[in-house]
Symmetry: C2
Subunit: 340 residues, 2 copies
């Protein structure tokens, strides 16, 4: 058995495959990230390193890199844009953790817990500004347009989510609007900017935008299901965060809707108490999980995520088959199947 054959038999996840394809690019992206989060103000690299170096999946910059190859882009600007996308993502994470009063992210204490809210807010602002510095350096007005628009859409999605907190009557439509803005808009932009760099056709540009958007929705659907710990794998974040905040996500919308339809008054009263009245006791997270299981809410999340992942894959049809297309197809499958 040759080394190559041996390698083929080792089971790797699609993300590992994509990471290995993109290895050289991602090293260039990492170098830019490390270099550009430096500052003479020591607290900035300390805090940024805690988050950016915390072993995130780098999914969004990977999308930029893979999309650039799919569009047969031959320059170097995709490295800066990929770093820029990761900076925007990191900035929103820092601000989210303050907004949500989170204490854990990627299995580590959150920056706001260690340094306090103020540095988290300000270093978020710094990374956001640095993201724009990097974009300017690529001299791509199209990329700037896409990423600045995505940034305002993300903020709108976050505010909409905040305004909808404790609204037990929230519809799936509103939920999809919120995650489409707060999460998927950056996935979409991360993919689309590469088509801009490569001067691809409007059709290919739209294809990548749709791929990213649908992938982002699938990703967030799974993320929200994982917050109830319903699958074997954890994301290293605390379980029940959304529940404790009274945040309506797909599983709870599904369980509450089912309770209404089946006239399960005990369940209806439970959700109204814990979400609308935000009156929660120690056992209520376990009660909630039991109700989610009873209504197959996590399976419903999985089904919904699969639908969006399929749409993402379908969107890639304008691109010809090849290793990068295969990697992106696998990625869409992985984003859903990572729960197993």
């Amino acid at each position: 058995m040759t080394a190559i054959e041996k390698q083929d038999t080792i089971s790797t996840s699609p993300i590992d495959h994509l990471l290995s394809l993109a290895n050289e690019d991602m090293r260039a992206v990492d170098a830019i990230i490390i270099k550009r989060m430096q500052s003479s103000v020591g607290m900035i690299p300390d805090l940024a390193e805690h988050l950016v170096g915390a072993g995130g999946k780098r999914l969004r910059p990977l999308l930029t890199i893979a999309s650039a190859h799919l569009c047969e882009y031959e320059g170097k600007a995709h490295h800066k844009l990929a770093a820029s996308v990761e900076f925007i993502h990191s900035a929103t994470l820092l601000h989210d953790d303050v907004v949500d009063i989170s204490d854990k992210r990627r299995g580590k204490k959150t920056a706001n817990l260690i340094w306090g809210n103020a540095p988290s807010i300000l270093v978020g602002d710094f990374l956001f500004a640095r993201a724009f510095n990097l974009m300017v350096e690529t001299v791509s007005m199209g990329a700037l347009e896409i990423l600045s628009t995505a940034s305002s859409v993300i903020a709108e999605g976050e505010v909409q989510q905040l305004a909808a907190l404790r609204d037990v009557e929230m519809s799936v439509k509103t939920y999809l609007e919120i995650i489409g803005a707060k999460t998927a808009a950056l996935f979409a932009a991360a993919a689309e900017v590469s088509a801009i760099l490569a001067k691809s056709s409007p059709k290919k540009r739209k294809a990548l935008q749709t791929y990213g958007q649908e992938l982002g929705i699938a990703f967030q659907l799974i993320d929200d299901a994982l917050d109830y710990g319903g699958f074997e794998m954890s994301l290293g974040k605390s379980i029940g965060d959304d529940f404790h905040e009274g945040k309506m996500t797909f599983p709870v919308i599904h369980a509450y809707k089912t309770a209404i339809e089946t006239r399960d008054e005990i369940a209806v009263d439970f959700w109204r108490r814990v979400i609308t009245d935000h009156d929660q006791r120690d056992v209520d997270l376990q009660n909630a999980i039991t109700l989610l299981q009873k209504t197959d809410a996590l399976e419903a999340s999985l089904t919904a995520a699969r639908t969006h992942a399929q749409r993402a894959i379908k969107a890639l049809h304008p691109f010809k088959t090849g290793p990068w297309k295969t990697a992106l197809v696998d990625l869409a499958t992985f984003v859903v199947d990572r729960v197993h």
Copy 2:
């Protein structure tokens, strides 16, 4: 006495003169500001209106407008850049008020006190993103470069200020570095972008950058002196905010340095207790003000501010005399003399 003569005898402040010169432009800027802070997410315009509509002085966009005229710019893009500058400023104010835990701004309750920290953070992010949307629309890569760099410098200044909190040994040099970054960088950028739009010479561009930088430092020196209420006029903000946070500003640096030099051990111990140990009692603000008076600290602030305002005025030498240059000269005087 004719109506015109009558008008001439009415005493107006330089800022009123500049505002009347720039009246038409500022109406266009205001229209852009109002339009672009809208969102289908209702909390965004509500909160933005509270801050942006709160009757701020619009000093920074005024600088962009006046600089554009000084450079004989004939297009319309300065309106969008002026609005963009005001959005960046508003975003930093929203975040500052969360960071400083302020309860009053421009004589009104701060947004974080009314809506909470989370919306203030997120609407700040939204306005910041919208600032970049507006810049992109001007298709000026030079303006994007200047304003994205200024944005990261501002964040660095804010973090540096945070890291230096309660450091009673802080030097005037460090203080000037901090306010040069957190405040003056945006004044400098607000003026410089207009030279870019007008394709002015590097000399004129540098002149406006210096004017803005020095004006911003003068402005912040006065602002920090006003925090101790030492002059007749108030800015509608609470007195003693900096003191209560343990923030070292020019007057305290001056008073502490004087106490050390004159071996006034009681005063040295006082400043160390209230700043370093952050052990403050109700009477301590009054005690601090008494010590500032004793060391002529506010007069020293005023003298320092005048020096920087003079440098600002001197920087304008490459421009020929005319109403806009006169207005900018008057503005530099006003920024200091507004305390009387």
